[in-house]
């Protein structure tokens, strides 16, 4: 056997580059699978068969595009105007009662959440700060351990197969 030479020597690097470069340049293109053309044609037919409203906005007819933009602008204007008008009139009690009556359950639910949040906040303030630091450190450690464990599992069970 001949002794290995230093592959980092500039002269050797150049020779290997030339040799490998020549081999790769002589390499003909790989033959595409026979199914490729059929797949492309089938996908083109599928796309052509789609109605315009299932295509992207760019492919919509020009008139529909214009109508959509105008409609959107009108909707925005309507929403803004309605908000301003409602904000002015909503002061009267009958209106407020009409709106809030069907939403009573939502109010009660929000109230319950608010009490629960208040209780949690009181509890949180009662915990000594060093316990919080220990808890945070523990959570971070567990998180890192979980990531390391899954990485090891990936390497052992999947990547090395």
């Amino acid at each position: 056997m001949t002794e290995p030479l230093d592959s980092r020597h500039p002269q050797n690097v150049d020779r290997i580059e030339r040799l490998v470069g020549t081999v790769l340049k002589e390499q003909p293109p790989r033959r595409a699978p026979s199914s490729l053309e059929a797949r492309v044609m089938a996908e083109l037919e599928r796309r052509a068969a789609l109605p315009w409203w299932r295509m992207s906005f760019l492919h919509w007819p020009l008139l529909v595009k214009a109508a959509f933009v105008l409609g959107s602008l009108a909707l925005v204007k309507f929403a803004l105007t309605s908000t301003v008008i409602l904000a002015g009139r909503v002061q009267s009690d009958p209106v407020v009662e009409t709106i809030t009556r069907p939403l009573g359950w939502a109010g009660r639910t929000a109230d319950s959440f608010s009490r629960a949040a208040s209780f949690c906040s009181t509890l949180f303030n009662a915990i000594p700060s060093h316990w919080l630091y220990i808890g945070t450190a523990l959570a971070i450690t567990l998180y890192i351990a979980a990531v390391a464990l899954s990485a090891t599992a990936y390497r052992t069970l999947y990547a090395n197969k």
């Binding site: 595409a32 490729l36 053309e37 796309r47 990547a159």
Partner: protein, 181 residues
């Protein structure tokens, strides 16, 4: 499409090292081409356009895949393989001046298959810059920019890829006798 499908598929297959993914990318490239059919059908640069599109689509695909698995892939990068490819190159290999010397009596078809297999065996961080440099004739600087990797690393990866490729090729097709002639 007939005229370009092999070129498009080859580019994607050599960059990804995966024929199924390469077929998907080739399909996507031709679908994009059909969207620009009016400008491309008479264009003399249609081949170049297709090559650019398939290269960019493939690099985007690889970049998405790399980000998704970066953490895990970094863990499993085989350092031993890197060390091996840098350790040296047989003197006999350096004495060769042409592919015919390298492959000796190996038939052309078999020679092509050996090269394609050797390319597939390279790790992605070596294969992609090597293919971009030798097949796509992209300069080192452009490869570094495309892959968002430093220029020295690109040069090192390509050098290691060449060495690994030369070793695999010589190991597949050569006996010591026809290496030394």
């Amino acid at each position: 499409m007939h005229a370009y499908q092999d070129m498009v598929f080859s580019t994607a297959a050599r960059l990804t090292g995966n024929d199924a993914v390469a077929e998907d990318l080739a399909q996507e490239t031709f679908l994009k081409a059909y969207e620009h059919f009016d400008t491309l059908k008479e264009s003399p640069t249609a081949g170049g356009w297709l090559k650019t599109v398939v290269t960019n689509l493939t690099l985007n695909h690889l970049s998405r895949y790399r980000k998704r698995w970066k953490f895990f892939s970094d863990l499993r990068r085989p350092d031993a393989e890197e060390d091996d490819s840098e350790s040296g190159v047989p003197e006999a290999l350096l004495g060769l001046s042409s592919p015919d010397d390298l492959f000796g009596g190996v038939q052309a078809d078999e020679r092509r298959a050996i090269v394609e297999r050797a390319l597939k065996q390279l790790p992605e961080h070596q294969r992609v810059p090597l293919v971009l440099y030798h097949f796509e004739e992209m300069p080192y600087q452009d490869i570094a920019q495309h892959l968002k990797v430093s220029l020295p690393k690109i040069k090192t990866d390509i050098m290691r890829a060449r060495l690994a490729l030369a070793k695999v090729m010589s190991g597949s097709g050569l006996t010591l006798e026809n290496l030394e002639t």
